[in-house]
Symmetry: C2
Subunit: 309 residues, 2 copies
């Protein structure tokens, strides 16, 4: 097993200025796996759903190369449900409804054959459960990436801070970096957070791109300027899935390769926001991905010959 | 004359979370010229000050290679004064006081020897005065860059729209691009604005970098992640000065060279915000500038070899 992804598999109901959906398939682990499957097929998922979750979606993920043995199906219960409404700027949203359902007493169990995964992606989930998964691994993964959100900083900060000691890469947004560090400047925030444990920090700034920090270096990847952001739901998870999927497929965790991985993650996220939910990711071709990568190259590459070089 | 810059020369009083200044030298044309002087010395300025403006600053600009023959000095009047206070996020500010003084009845007069300047930088100023300057040019400059702000969109939109028919490059911030176009998406905003006249549009996004559009291409330059932004006053003018100064020194107005010019402009702006007012620009060395450019290269350059290339 090359890559193991843990996180929610869910139903979402979304309202944006462009329209409204009924219950559609969502969840951090869903977006992560769909995105990573563009790069690697040696992948497993650990999550939980209820009996109401469509069997076709589970089949579809299997077809994408995702080993679904770690998906617990609680036939008599209901799948986690989230409903939200985006504001006109598409950067902020209100949660309308959250029904934990099967998530309320979820205990992740990593199947035997996934416990030696080289790459571990801990999608947004209760911090204690993320740590649970780390502890089930028989060999320490080559790279552990953890995604989280402000909600856990509000109610489970101590657990989250404990997790930071066990991981390699933390991905959070700019507001969360400020909350976690108590620093407004993102450079200062990064310095503080890197002292809490992770070797790398990715700060996601939505339409303003993403920053990758280690203690010595910083890299910036822009977001592609899009005519319209149709639905931002899952963009962060899709970014993370593209990032770790690319790393897992190349097995190279150097800073240089992480730069490429962030560009691939950004490209995947730029597709995600073009349609509601997972729709755009489902039939994405590798040619489309390569063409989008070329757009990123064209967007930021310049040629300056410095006298001092 | 290679480059002519028009705009305010002023006194500013600034308050930021880091401190407070008395009246210090500011003004769009001041920042533009100080920044452009890093790249070209064949430069003139057209503006107006009162008798209270320090003769040493005028001398200093001359020493930087700026021809000051176009600076009107109204001995019995007072220099334009602006006072403002920045909020904690440093992205927004309140104007505390504006005293137009000599600016109230300013009529720009371009000295004979500057009327054939190849590059014309119209700094932020009443749109009618910007057009006045264009009309005084005996030869159509190779490149006319115009900077403006939301204030003129509120009170003189028709004049501003007329100006757009006579210029090559418009530089505005993201909020102003939305106001001018009525479009929230910056890509759509750019498409609309480019139909109003300019061949190029630069959208300045402050700490989130800058976008350069023409009808077919888009380029993104990041802002350097800084530990602290000490005082943002003049950063946009410094950016514009670096942009046109670099273009004037290389005499190359291709899209590829404009990309480099934007990186140089961004580098200059990153120095500007490190101290109050013009302080950081006054003793900047070319080695410091080259080192900062290398930081931009390191920040955004990545190496992806695409199969399709």
């Amino acid at each position: 097993m090359s890559l193991l992804a843990v996180g929610t598999v869910a139903f979402d109901a979304i309202e944006t200025p462009f329209g409204k959906t009924d219950k559609i398939v969502g969840g951090a682990a869903t977006f992560i796996c769909l995105s990573a499957s563009q790069f690697t097929h040696k992948m497993g998922l650990v999550s939980v759903v209820g009996g109401d979750f469509p069997k076709e979606t589970i089949e579809l993920l299997k077809q994408k190369g995702v080993n679904m043995d770690g998906l617990q199906i609680k036939e008599n219960e209901k799948t986690f449900f989230w409903s939200g409404k985006y504001h006109n700027d598409m950067n902020s949203r209100d949660t309308i409804d959250t029904q934990l359902n099967v998530l309320a007493d979820f205990v992740p169990v990593v199947p035997e054959e996934m416990r030696n995964a080289e790459f571990l992606m801990l999608g947004n989930l209760m911090p204690k459960l993320q740590l649970d998964v780390i502890k089930q691994m028989t060999t320490r993964p080559k790279l552990i990436v953890l995604d989280t959100m402000n909600f856990w900083m509000d109610i489970a900060m101590d657990d989250l801070i404990e997790n930071l000691k066990h991981i390699d890469v933390l991905t959070i947004n700019d507001g969360e970096a400020r909350q976690l560090s108590g620093e407004y400047s993102l450079v200062k925030a990064a310095q503080k957070i890197l002292k809490m444990g992770p070797k790398y920090l990715i700060i996601k700034k939505g339409e303003h791109g993403a920053l990758l920090f280690n203690k010595e270096q910083v890299f910036f990847a822009p977001a592609l300027p899009l005519e319209d952001v149709f639905d931002p739901t899952g963009a962060g998870d899709t970014f993370a899935g593209g990032f770790i999927g690319y790393l897992a497929s190349t097995k190279d965790i150097s800073f240089e390769n992480m730069k490429r991985a962030i560009i691939y993650g950004s490209a995947m996220a730029s597709f995600c926001v073009e349609k509601f939910g997972t729709e755009r990711l489902l039939n994405l071709t590798s040619t489309e991905v390569e063409e989008r990568i070329q757009e990123f190259v064209d967007l930021v590459q310049f040629d300056i010959s410095l006298v001092n070089e």
